[in-house]
Amino acid sequence: MTEPNRIRNFCIIAHIDHGKSTLADRLLELTHAVADRDMREQYLDKMDLERERGITIKAQAVRLAYRADGEDYELNLIDTPGHVDFTYEVSRSLAACEGAVLLVDASQGIEAQTLANYHLARDAGLRIVPVLNKIDLPQADAEETARELAEVVGCAREDILAVSAKTGEGVTALLEEVIRRVPPPAAPRDDPLRALIFDSSFDAYRGVVAYLRVKDGVLPSRAKVRFMATGLDLEAEECGVFAPEATPVPALEAGEVGYLITGLKDVHQVKVGDTVTLAGKHRARDPLPGYREPRPMVWSGLFPAEGGDYTELRDALDRLKLNDASLVFEPETSHALGFGFRCGFLGLLHMDIVKERLEREFDLELIATSPNVEFHVIRADATVVVHNPTEMPQPGTYDRVEEPIVLATIITPSEYLGPVLDLCQSRRGELADMKYLSPERAEVHYQLPLAEIIFDFFDQLKSRTRGYASLDYEPLGYVPADLVRVDVLLHGEPVDAFSAVVPRDRAQQYGRQMVERLRELIPRQLFDVAIQASIGARIVARETVKAKRKDVLAKCYGGDITRKRKLLEEQKKGKARMRRVGRVDVPQEAFIAALRIDQKVESKK
């Protein structure tokens, strides 16, 4: 047990590649948290995906011991995801800390994601420790970046520390400044227990492991505890700390960070943001503030490329869900793609990660429909929530449609400001405000439909700014929008997988694009195949795949019969792999190619 005034709880806020994991590695080494032989790069990023992409998906908490001024300190470093998809998770991690190291690459300057997370940290009352990283790089413009950082944080130039996480230069000083500047936790240990769950993971042997910060009171091992949001009463089978491997302790006390195992097998009952208290008469009256149910922002249909893999996909989703409480899914049946699941994700990165994990860890081949947001269809009597474009009712049967909008923050070099504004404007954006961080860099706030962001906004932003702009956004709620559903028909038969809800003035363009793309992808059949795009009953685009005229083996005599039969058998197998839409055979690849929107998702810390 450590006295609260010897505890410091902090996190690191940084943009991707600004050096967060490298700095964490140095801190682990400096505090001898990991034996030399066990040390490896990006120590805290445990998933392969995290290490490959250089991102953090799951939060980690690690306890570091450090002696300064003759005193032993317990430092809890909480490593958080930083991507906009996980803003809520980030906010809970921040709520577990008293301080944040704001780490900025001196050669790059501050980025939108860093700024957004900085604002989250400041709003959560955290003490900010601004730090310039990579000062060893020749192209580092430490002076300019420091000026920008001082301006954003509102601190003096002298308060900004300078380190090289790579060489270790300045890292000891940083650690001591964290101890000096970050306040110790307020730790009313006599109050009823309240501990904040900021993440969880699933262990095949132990069940759900909840990561928590004890705010008030004491959490002893073997105590009966209650999860306040879910109302579950369970036994605390084990409490412990990550040092950095899980190490049991008899109790976690107010101000401390650690883990709790209750034997629970369902990660959905251990919700990020929930409060753990004691069961029975010692329980707290009120939970900690800020709890919220996970809310999917982006939806997409996932279908096995091989129809027979439906059961495998279901099992895989069930398994993933064990470790990912924010993933939701429900069965979906598509005429074109067969049986699959409509899945809700926190955002595009989350979607990408889930898809990649399904394909890699479960060896599945998947077809994903274009992602869409959740629409609200307002009727006189009720509001219908639509997660799938095909569920969008026909015009005339409702009062209006509402779509989610976000407040986007874009930081861009000033020279690309024009193209950035053009892009936002063309995506139904409304300028909220704009300011210069420095003569060279501008910060722009736009109100934008989320649907525009999840289309190809990020790709466009990157290509118009040669990769220099960064983007972050926060939800602003729902507003009415003039949207219509565009359907794509093959030979008169709608292909549900290609339906989309788009702004009315862009509906025709979308229809034309899909129809033209499909004309290239659909093989010739025995009859002319009309490919049409329609809004309700109105056809807005049309192409024709002309009937195939010749498909016959020219010669077939004695010696060749076996070989020719095998050719036919191959052709038959190929046909069997196709999906039938009405009378039209469509190869799998055509669906995949038509649905590919070639957008990459920014991975950020």
Binding site: L526, F527, K548, R549, K550, D551, V552, L553, A554, K555, C556, Y557, G558, G559, I561, T562, K564, R565, L568, E569, Q571, K572, K575
Partner: protein, 366 residues
């Protein structure tokens, strides 16, 4: 059920770029041994086929006429001695226009080869060039006249359409020239690119464009019209004949009659079993000369393979499929769209249907 015997002669003066048959140039020195091996193999095979009645003999290749006339005559005599070949059996020999003259042709006819099949391919020298054929249009005309002079009353000309550079106009001239020469039988094949051939490799490398299937469809339709007007009956996807001159031997393949193949790489078929001889001539020679049947492989057709063959072979010809073999629900849409028609108790492809026969076969074989 009558059977056919096929004799393979794997020698050619030159290899054509599109050809993937078991044929070789510069192996002429093996001819003597090869003729002897054919006779030996026939002897080895004969006991198993002693109860079969043969209605056709077909010498194919390669180029059978690269063999000496005397050898060809001796081969046919030996077959007649070993097998029960009916006196009116159809006996065909394939010939290259450049390897025959009046004298040789007269000898062949005299020996009993009453049907002559010549590879004309095209009357457009540009097209012959694209096919890497060594002959020119004149040699086809000359060979045809020589055949007539020698007394041949049953001649087939092979044509190929859709080679690189060939136009519908050029194809029409080839058809007219063919009709002018008045063969009893015409085989017209859409050029098929086989990956293992020199032409196939050129197409894969993008040096030569592959055939345009729409253009080949136009050419097919033109052949249907022109040849019908000239009195030829379109009795198989790629074959037309004056009435009574349909090729008995080839009909045997499509009607799934049994056949015995002799020679390097030749295939045989009987009782839902198909087997084939070793392909390389040298290997063929050494096995036969050791007194063994040169069988290189075999397959036994299971029910689904036999069913598929029944459908795809029978649909190639006018006799078609017995209506009872096909669920009317499956066939009706094709009848309505004009790809199939009823002919008494048979389902027969229309000429449009023949052009997309693979699609019909796959639909009907399900």
């Amino acid at each position: 059920m009558s059977a056919g015997v096929y004799v393979h002669v794997p020698f050619c003066l030159t290899r054509c770029g599109y050809c993937d048959f078991n044929a070789y140039e510069a192996l002429e020195h093996l001819r003597g041994r090869y003729v002897a091996a054919l006779m030996l193999e026939a002897e080895l095979a004969a006991p198993a086929w002693s109860r079969e009645e043969f209605a056709s003999v077909f010498f194919g290749g390669g180029t059978p006429t690269t063999l000496e006339g005397e050898d060809l005559a001796a081969l046919l005599r030996s077959l007649r001695a070993l097998f029960s070949i009916s006196s009116d059996a159809e006996v065909t020999i394939e010939a290259n226009p450049d390897t025959v003259d009046a004298l040789k042709l007269a000898g062949l006819l005299d020996a009993g080869y009453a049907r002559l099949s010549m590879g004309a391919q095209s009357f457009d020298s540009a097209v012959l060039g694209a096919l890497e054929r060594v002959h020119n249009p004149d040699s086809v005309r000359r060979a045809m006249h020589a055949a007539r002079d020698a007394g041949f009353a049953n001649v087939n000309l092979d044509l190929i359409y859709g080679a690189d550079g060939e136009t519908v106009d050029s194809w029409e001239r080839t058809l007219l020239e063919t009709i002018e020469l008045a063969p009893e039988h015409v085989s017209a094949y859409a050029l098929t690119i086989e990956p293992s051939t020199p032409l196939g490799r050129k197409v894969q490398q993008g040096l030569v464009p592959g055939p345009d299937s729409d253009l080949q469809a136009d050419m097919f339709e033109l052949a249907c019209v022109s040849l019908a007007e000239a009195g030829y009956r379109h009795y198989e996807v790629s074959n037309w004949a004056k009435p009574g001159f349909e090729c008995v031997h080839n009909l045997g393949y499509w009607e799934r009659r049994l056949y015995l193949g002799i020679g390097a790489g030749a295939h045989s078929y009987r009782d839902e079993r198909r087997w084939w001889n070793v392909r390389p001539p040298q290997e063929y020679l050494s096995v036969v000369e050791a007194g063994r049947l040169p069988i290189g492989g075999e397959e036994v057709l299971d029910r689904s393979a036999a069913h598929l063959e029944e459908i795809f072979l029978r649909l190639r010809i006018l006799e078609g499929l017995p209506t009872s073999m096909v669920d009317p629900e499956v066939s009706t849409p094709f009848i309505e769209s004009g790809l199939l028609r009823h002919d008494d108790d048979a389902l027969v492809p229309t000429e449009r249907g023949m052009l997309v026969l693979n699609e019909l076969v796959l639909a009907l074989a399900n």
